[in-house]
Symmetry: C2
Subunit: 288 residues, 2 copies
Amino acid sequence: MHEGEEMHEFDRATAVRRRTVDDDGHAVHDVEVDAGWSIGDKPNGGYLLATVARAAADAAAAIEGPDHPHALAATAAYAAPPKPGPAEIRSEVLRRGRGTSQVRARLVQDGAVRVDATLTLGRLRPDATPWWGGAPAPEVPDVPRERRTPADGPGGVHLPIMERVDIRLDPETAGFTVGRPSGAGELRALLRFADGRAPDPLALLYAVDALPPAPFDVGGTAGWVPTMSLTAYVRALPADGPLVVRQRAGLIEAGTVDEVCEVWDGRGRLVAQATQLAGVRTAGPPPA
Amino acid sequence: MHEGEEMHEFDRATAVRRRTVDDDGHAVHDVEVDAGWSIGDKPNGGYLLATVARAAADAAAAIEGPDHPHALAATAAYAAPPKPGPAEIRSEVLRRGRGTSQVRARLVQDGAVRVDATLTLGRLRPDATPWWGGAPAPEVPDVPRERRTPADGPGGVHLPIMERVDIRLDPETAGFTVGRPSGAGELRALLRFADGRAPDPLALLYAVDALPPAPFDVGGTAGWVPTMSLTAYVRALPADGPLVVRQRAGLIEAGTVDEVCEVWDGRGRLVAQATQLAGVRTAGPPPA
């Protein structure tokens, strides 16, 4: 941040303040869970993961060693949703390596663990290029601004997060919003921060959990799809421009669903991947 | 186990002995890291995850509440490989819910964290059926026993684990063993325990990390592919019979690769899924 530069909403919402750190790499950070990054009254899981990652990287940076500012791999188990307001993040640096460091970090509120995360930190380099593989970016049309996902969700649920992030679903995958899911279990969208903040590795931890649940495009499910565990891999520094995000449902069985998310940057480079296991309620038989 | 029944090798190797547990769900288990489940001198990551999961489930069971014997989701960060011999697993039950519980557990040896895991536990039911989705099982031919992966690995590396598990690669994906990778980055195999132990949810945590690294079928990489972080989802109770395992490489960039693993049971049902982020050394340009 340079003087006079305005802080973006995502950075304000994920800000951490170091309270204590010791030589063993145990740190405590104060955070303020922001009501603005919620679906209904539940803070978004990717937003919480990004906040925890920010604290974890700061804890690692407080110890002598190589500079590992980016979460390369991060898994969060969601024990219970925190409420908006003060919380703390307790980090423990498990290993400081040459190429990577590993940190465990948890968000605690009212004495109870809300999010428990394990992170592998490293440094992504601007000159890195893909060597092999990586799914190509799907074509997602840039629909007009009026078609961005509104903050007034279905069934009267308020989605304050949609005031802060501009998600424009590919019309081909937006049928569920008018009661006509395609049945494919796949959502695609362009994602931007509403205030113009550029994407970076921290933002990718949010982006992998930003879309509506992919089972909404299957049909036949009821209610919300709460994430139990989210794993994100950040593979490259994203270029400027809107992110392309694809979220796909895998197997729905016994009240759980796995979802796979991929994120490409403005150059069409695969920059993040994620899987999550979530709870899902099925209503009657599966759609034909 | 019934009296007179022989204990299988996998159960012996993953055995945990509860040392202490308190009402808050903090438990310590003694374990013996088994030299027989190694690649060279490094214990297999899936074997370690299964051992940690066994301790975590026992820690949860020690507290009053619903019965959650199975790891539904488990992520392990591998900080440093443990040596064969005594170690301890320290568990902490984060949440005891109606349908699921969450536990953090770590394997510690010589005072240092070797594996740090986060687990979501629940109970898989024998009458569960897939409701939607799930990739169909690939056809993997059952090649003769003589073609199982030998314990004498390439470059003189000893693979003691291959004396305990019977892995028969689909010949179509076994070209890398004779220096002719297909370039597709995909391995498929049938997997059985050599001593006839039946698959169960615990065994699936091992199965998702049992195959050789999928980059071996890409070509152009050098040396081992050490797992940094492994995430497994166990989706159903596996039926008897050999497991079908498919391991695929995703993106190779900047010294890391993501791999996706899927496991089907003898009925062809998808029973486990996993992703991992691993380190990889590339030698020269990618294969054409």
